[in-house]
């Protein structure tokens, strides 16, 4: 029998629930709210059969463009041939998690605003740009003893001891 290409083909492992996490899903998934423009990760929960995205979107991250009663519209990038299309899918909330991809950026924004406000008060000019890690600075080596290593002449007797 040839291999099938159904919608859920080859999802035996990716859609299965993790070890010892089967059964009822924790209620915080239902209590989270999503607003348009948030970033979300799509991660299929095999225990809920309705509103499942296609296996391609499992593990993708996209933006919310629509919020309905029980589902969320997510805009995900998909490469089709030689271009990338922004695909709009609707996914039930059980298959969606809030993404942390912008978390670091948001924290940095807040911190930078704080630093700039402080600098403005003092009258300094600061740059809040991130710098890549540069080469390590120089340092003095301490506690180093010098040991000069010179070759010693070959001693036949010592090397062959007991062997001949």
């Amino acid at each position: 029998m040839p291999a099938g290409h159904g919608v859920r083909s080859r999802t035996r492992d990716s859609f299965s629930r993790p070890f010892r996490k089967k059964g009822y899903i924790p209620l915080s998934t239902y209590l989270r709210t999503y607003k348009i423009g948030d970033y979300v990760d799509v991660k299929v929960n095999g225990a809920v059969h309705k509103g499942m995205p296609h296996k391609f979107y499992h593990g993708r991250t996209g933006r919310v463009w629509n919020v309905t009663k029980r589902a969320i519209g997510v805009e995900v990038n998909k490469q089709v041939g030689n271009r990338i299309i922004r695909k709009r899918i609707h996914v039930r909330v059980e298959h969606v998690q809030p993404s942390r991809c912008t978390e670091e950026f948001k924290l940095r924004k807040v911190k930078n605003d704080q630093l700039k406000a402080e600098a403005k008060k003092k009258g300094e000019v600061i740059s809040t740009k991130r710098q890549p890690e540069g080469p390590k600075s120089g340092f003095m080596v301490e506690g180093a003893t010098l040991e000069t290593v010179t070759p010693i002449p070959y001693d036949v007797v010592n090397d062959l001891k007991g062997g001949y």
């Binding site: 010892r20 996490k21 089967k22 059964g23 009822y24 924790p26 209620l27 915080s28 239902y30 209590l31 989270r32 709210t33 999503y34 607003k35 919020v67 309905t68 009663k69 029980r70 589902a71 969320i72 909330v93």
Partner: protein
């Protein structure tokens, strides 16, 4: 051979998936909870209130709860052990007391939200099915009945509490199928019978029967009623007074409790992460100081 097979092997425990904590305790029905809590996503943070009724052996707890990721938030609560404040001291878990508790919670919530003048509810309890009519200014307070784990049979005291809350003026979707007095044959609610239950008529009937047939059992079973001079005939007036008192002043009383006594500790207090680090630094300093002193002595 037979004995070894009966044991639970290590492999069994390694693969065992523990149920949720409240399921282990047998307190929460998650299937029902999911369906009660789920709020439409396009309503964002609008809370969905549950009218929670729970019975213990001697008390009734009625609460209005909204769910939250960090824990459910209680908007208002009423207990049947508050009813002595309104004049009811005995029979605190029967249908009539449940009605009073539901009524108390309903009026309390409406007063808290300043809707109590708009929505008076059903002032005279008739036992008929009553649903709140929305007025022009504000829509009625909506909650969903959460019974927990009890078996919803016709005439269960939980529905007494439900009727109390409905008559108080809350909007709780319901049907009259499970009220006391609904007959399956006619498929109709007998309002007279329901009214009897709301005013403790069933208790009064039992009192009359016992007085006739077994006066000794009557003395022992209803001793608290007799002590307070409550007889089969004045039960209804008693409950009418309680209803009126509840409607007059439903606000909760803050209980004055002194701070709990400090008990002597018999075991060491667990240190915090900072305290443990500080202790380690102290020890290192002491060691270094001692080592320094030793090396100086050696030299």
């Amino acid at each position: 051979m037979g004995f070894v097979k009966a044991q639970k092997s290590k492999a069994y425990f390694k693969r065992f998936q523990v149920p949720f904590k409240r399921r282990r305790e047998g307190k929460t029905d998650y299937r029902a909870r999911i369906r009660l809590i789920n709020q439409d996503k396009n309503k964002y943070n609008t809370p969905k209130y549950r009218f929670v009724v729970r019975f213990s052996n001697k008390d009734i707890t009625a609460q209005i709860v909204s769910a939250n990721i960090s824990g459910d938030m209680i908007l208002a609560s009423a207990y049947s052990h508050e009813l002595p404040r309104y004049g009811l001291e005995v029979g605190l878990t029967n249908y009539a007391a449940a009605y009073c508790t539901g009524l108390l919670l309903g009026r309390r919530v409406l007063k808290m939200l300043e809707m109590d003048d708009e929505y008076q509810g059903n002032v005279e309890a008739t036992g008929e099915d009553y649903s709140v009519e929305p007025t022009d200014t504000r829509r009625p307070f909506r909650a969903l009945l959460d019974v927990g784990l009890i078996r919803t049979t016709t005439g269960n005291n939980v529905f007494g509490a439900l009727k109390g809350a409905l008559d108080a003026g809350l909007d709780i979707p319901h049907s009259d199928k499970r009220f006391a007095g609904f007959s399956k044959d006619n498929k109709q609610l007998d309002a007279e019978v329901h009214r009897k239950y709301i005013y403790g008529g069933h208790v009064a009937a039992y009192m009359r029967i016992l007085m006739e047939d077994e006066p000794e059992k009557y003395q022992s079973h209803f001793s608290e009623y007799i002590k307070r001079g409550i007889e089969a005939d004045n039960i209804e007036t008693l409950y009418k007074k309680v209803h009126a008192a509840i409607r007059a002043n439903p606000t909760a009383k803050k209980s004055e409790k002194e701070p709990p006594k400090q008990h002597k500790r018999f075991n060491l207090k667990k240190l915090t992460y900072e305290e443990r680090k500080a202790k380690l630094i102290e020890r290192l300093h002491a060691l270094n100081a001692a080592a320094g002193a030793d090396s100086e002595e050696e030299d």
